[in-house]
C-alpha cells in the first residue's frame, strides 16, 4: 500500500491542484431525484428565474446589436444560442409544472 503524502503547505496544495480535478458529489439520476425530494423546488419560482435570465440576456443582445461591432458577433450568437436553450428549458419546465398540477388534482 502506498503512503499518502499530504500537502504540507499552500505551495504543495497548489501542486495538487495542477495534478487533480476537485469534483465532488453524486452524479446519478437517483441522487438528483433524492435531492429534489428532500428539498423540493417551486416550479413557478424556477420558471420566474429562467425568465429573468432571458430578459437579462435579451437586454445584453439588444445593447450589443445597436453598436453593430463585427467583433461582437460571436458573443451575440452565443447569447442567442443560450436564449434558445433557455426557451426550451422554460417550455420543459411548464410541461413538468403542468403535469405536477394534474397529478395533484387526481391524487
Amino acid at each position: 500500500m502506498t503512503e499518502t503524502k499530504i500537502a504540507r503547505n499552500w505551495e504543495e496544495i497548489g501542486e495538487l491542484e495542477e495534478e487533480y480535478d476537485a469534483l465532488a458529489g453524486a452524479t446519478t439520476p437517483e441522487a438528483e431525484r433524492t435531492l429534489r425530494e428532500k428539498y423540493p423546488v417551486s416550479w413557478p419560482r424556477l420558471l420566474e428565474l429562467k425568465m429573468q435570465e432571458m430578459q437579462k440576456l435579451l437586454g445584453e443582445v439588444q445593447a450589443m446589436s445597436v453598436e453593430e461591432k463585427p467583433a461582437d458577433m460571436y458573443q451575440i450568437q452565443r447569447k442567442i444560442n443560450t436564449l434558445r436553450k433557455l426557451a426550451v428549458e422554460v417550455d420543459d419546465g411548464l410541461l413538468e409544472f403542468s403535469q405536477e398540477l394534474l397529478t395533484k388534482e387526481h391524487a
Binding site: 499518502t4 503524502k5 499530504i6 500537502a7 504540507r8 503547505n9 499552500w10 496544495i13 497548489g14 495538487l16 491542484e17 495542477e18 495534478e19 487533480y20 480535478d21 476537485a22 469534483l23 465532488a24 458529489g25 453524486a26 452524479t27 446519478t28 437517483e30 441522487a31 438528483e32 435531492l35 429534489r36 428539498y39 423546488v41 417551486s42 419560482r45 424556477l46 428565474l49 429562467k50 429573468q52 435570465e53 437579462k56 440576456l57 452565443r78 444560442n81 443560450t82 436553450k85 433557455l86
Partner: protein, 185 residues
C-alpha cells in the same frame, strides 16, 4: 470574502471573491455550459436549480460561488444539516465543481477547489461543527481530497460507490492553517 487564486501557467496571483451564490449568478454558470464536455461526469448538474434550492431552503442548504475576472471559477452546494459516520454534526459537500477551463488538462487557475473546501470548513466552524466536512469524491479527484488531508472512509457511497472523505476537527484545523495564505481578509 477576498481570496487569491493563481494562474497555473504563469504563477501570477489574481484577486478573487467567494460569496453565497445569488440568482443572478446563473448567467455566469450558463457560460460554463457551452464549454462543458458532454462526457464530463457533472455535465448534467443544474447549478441554476441548486442556487435556487439554496435560496428556498436557507437553513438546510448553502451555495457558494468563487468569482474572478468576471467569471464563475467554481461552485459548491453544501448541506448544512448532516451527520458523519460517528453521528457528529458536520457539513456535507453535496456538489463541488470547477469551471471547464479550470480542469485538467487546461487548468487556468489553481486553488479554486481547495478554496471552496476551505470555505466549507470555515462555515462548519462558524456553525459549531469544528470544521467537520463530508463529501463523496468523483474518481478523478480522489487523490486531491486524500492529499488535502481528508480521511478516506472504508465504506463507499450507497448506489454510486464513490469514495467518501471526511475532515474531523484536527484534520480540518491543519488544512485551514495551510490555506490561510489564500485568504486576503
Amino acid at each position: 470574502m477576498k481570496v487569491k487564486i493563481v494562474v497555473a501557467a504563469t504563477g501570477e496571483e489574481v484577486i478573487a471573491e467567494i460569496r453565497p451564490a445569488r440568482l443572478d449568478d446563473v448567467i455566469l454558470w450558463q457560460r460554463w455550459k457551452g464549454q462543458m464536455p458532454a462526457a464530463a461526469e457533472d455535465a448534467h448538474w443544474r447549478w441554476d436549480e441548486y442556487i435556487l434550492l439554496a435560496e428556498m431552503h436557507p437553513r438546510e442548504l448553502a451555495c457558494f460561488i468563487l468569482l474572478a475576472e468576471g467569471e464563475a471559477q467554481g461552485l459548491m452546494l453544501l448541506e448544512l444539516e448532516h451527520e458523519n459516520d460517528l453521528g457528529e454534526k458536520d457539513i456535507h459537500g453535496l456538489h463541488i465543481s470547477t469551471a471547464p477551463w479550470n480542469r485538467l488538462p487546461e487548468k487556468r487557475f489553481k486553488y479554486v477547489g481547495s478554496l471552496l473546501v476551505a470555505i466549507a470548513v470555515k462555515l462548519s466552524i462558524a456553525r459549531g461543527c469544528e470544521g467537520r466536512l463530508w463529501l463523496e469524491s468523483l474518481p478523478g479527484a480522489e487523490g486531491f481530497y486524500r492529499r488535502l488531508g481528508m480521511i478516506e472512509l472504508g465504506e463507499r457511497s450507497p448506489g454510486e460507490g464513490l469514495v467518501q472523505f471526511k475532515f474531523d476537527a484536527d484534520r480540518a484545523a491543519s488544512f485551514s492553517r495551510k490555506m490561510e495564505e489564500g485568504f486576503l481578509e
